[in-house]
């Protein structure tokens, strides 16, 4: 099958999984809804939640694809920038201060942005932003926020500690139209910017000197793309909490499907990330009367698949 056909099929799968997902759950629904309760559940709970899952999956996946290319490292994921850890700290801090839930999200988002700026500032060595310095700064920034998060967890009273722990494992349970009102525009703008700039990913992945020989302004373009992925990561995790593994594995699955060319890889990562996230969320909220934390599902499903992919590829990533 041609890569373009596969991409087309992925984009057909997306709305199909969306339709199935909004019908699934503890309160089974038909489309159109049969009564007022069903209508209410559909419009105010299901649709926002599934929409948020799609956005989150797409953003994390595309952020991962971007970082893997511009850092020339197949192991890169949004987690590597330390932004995730910072959003976690921001949320935990707000919970410690007993702020209302809207401010928890706000604080989380702000700390995500702070971490983004920190990483970009720290990784500029003599005006030069290299993949290695970005990864090292990301690790340092991540470690600082992880430690501060531990400090908050240590100080907070046990009753509220549970809230932090649940937040750290991720959930789309907070989804609402109010939240979508700002996450959706930011994500869509970020995703379309990433899509518009996707050719640069091919060029930057060749290495600094070659990219310059081909006329790329390497430093500026890399900083822009890193900032973009950090923004997507901060937006998503501030609302959903930490979602493990998607940002690493979805781009790899997309690459296995359509090949490494970013012209197809970026849209494929977006679609695949969205699909996986919807399915993961369905698994979280359907089988039991309680909700399974998202990261448990994504990790337990993604990790074995990742090992399979690794073995099938013989350690070499090819399309």
């Amino acid at each position: 099958m041609r890569p373009k056909t596969k991409l087309f099929l992925l984009f057909i799968t997306l709305p199909l999984v969306f339709m199935v997902s909004i019908m699934m759950g503890r309160y089974p629904l038909n489309i159109p809804p049969s009564d007022d309760v069903a209508h209410f559940v559909l419009m105010n709970i299901r649709i926002p939640r599934v929409l948020l899952a799609v956005i989150a999956g797409s953003c994390l996946s595309v952020a991962g694809a971007i970082l893997q290319s511009v850092l020339r490292n197949p192991l890169a994921s949004p987690y590597i920038l330390g932004v995730t850890q910072a959003t976690a700290f921001g949320a935990a801090l707000a919970m410690y201060l007993m702020l209302p839930s809207a401010l928890i999200i706000f604080s989380s988002f702000i700390f995500g942005l702070i971490a983004t700026l920190l990483v970009l500032l720290l990784s500029r060595v003599r005006g030069f932003l290299s993949p290695v310095t970005v990864i090292l700064s990301g690790i340092v920034v991540g470690a600082i926020f992880t430690t501060m998060l531990s400090a908050v967890q240590y100080m907070i009273d046990p009753w509220r500690l549970q809230g932090i722990v649940f937040w750290l494992m991720g959930s789309f349970g907070r989804a609402s139209w109010d939240i979508l009102a700002w996450t959706m525009p930011i994500s869509l703008i970020a995703l379309s910017s990433a899509h518009a700039m996707r050719w640069r990913l091919n060029i930057l992945s060749l290495g600094d000197e070659e990219a310059r020989m081909l006329g790329a302004r390497v430093q500026m373009e890399r900083a822009l793309l890193i900032a973009l992925s950090a923004l997507m990561c901060a937006t998503v995790t501030s609302v959903s909490g930490i979602v493990a593994f998607i940002g690493l594995i979805a781009p790899h699955m997309a690459r296995a499907l359509v090949g490494p060319d970013a012209r197809l890889l970026v849209p494929a990562s977006a679609a695949l990330g969205g699909v996986i996230m919807m399915i993961a969320d369905d698994v979280c909220r359907t089988p039991f009367s309680f909700e399974i934390p998202l990261s448990i599902v994504t990790t337990l499903v993604a990790a074995p698949y990742f090992i399979y992919l690794l073995r099938r590829m013989g350690g070499e990533w090819r399309g």
């Binding site: 518009a196 996707r198 050719w199 992945s205 310059r212 020989m213 790329a216 090949g259 090819r318 399309g319």
Partner: protein, 253 residues
Amino acid sequence: MERVVLKDVYFSYEDGFELRGISLKVHAGEVCAILGPNGSGKTTLLRCIYKLLRPFKGCIYVDGRDVLSLKTRELARLVGGVPQEHHPVFPYRAIDMVVMGRTPYLSLFSAPSHKDYEDAYELMKRLGIAHLAERPYTQLSGGERKLVLIARALMQNPRVLLLDEPTSHLDIKNKILVLRAVRRLCKDRKVAVLMTTHDPNEAMAYSDKIVLMNKGEVVFIGGPEDLSSELLSKVYDVPLKVIGYGNRRIVIY
């Protein structure tokens, strides 16, 4: 017409290696071999022309324009290059690699068009590598890779083509294949070619002009027929002899 002009170029790394007072001219349709032993500054010279390095003294002109005054993108439209070593992280198809040469003509927010892919395919056909188009670049042989990278450089529509050790790691057949392709393209498209090599035979057989470098200085500029055994022996620090063979001159040791 002078495509590349270097005027009294000095460059120094922090640890002291230098180019000292390099001056040379390369014309359109001319293949210029930059010959010299390892570490004589050949690659450094090319990197200065790419603006990857900045000379602390002297000027470099491409097509009459000072390279330091050109934007990266403008320079990439004038100068195409084939790097010495190349390890892509991701296995792009050969044709994708070739199309990447169109980048200097694209804006930050656009991707190559269908037409660009057709052009790339045409170019690969003319270089005799069209059959490689769909293969992953990472699985190609050394010679095939060089040809793909030459095609990519040509997609830049350059006035000047820089090749850094284009024949390193190639067997004899691939060496001849690559050098012939370069020579033909140079004459057809009237580009100026600068290629570095440490092999005097290669320089004598395939270039119009030889620039012999030693320890960061140019010690000889001229045609292959003017290169003497004494000078080569001195520069390479080993006895070498230039002899005539038919209408060619070759170096034996």
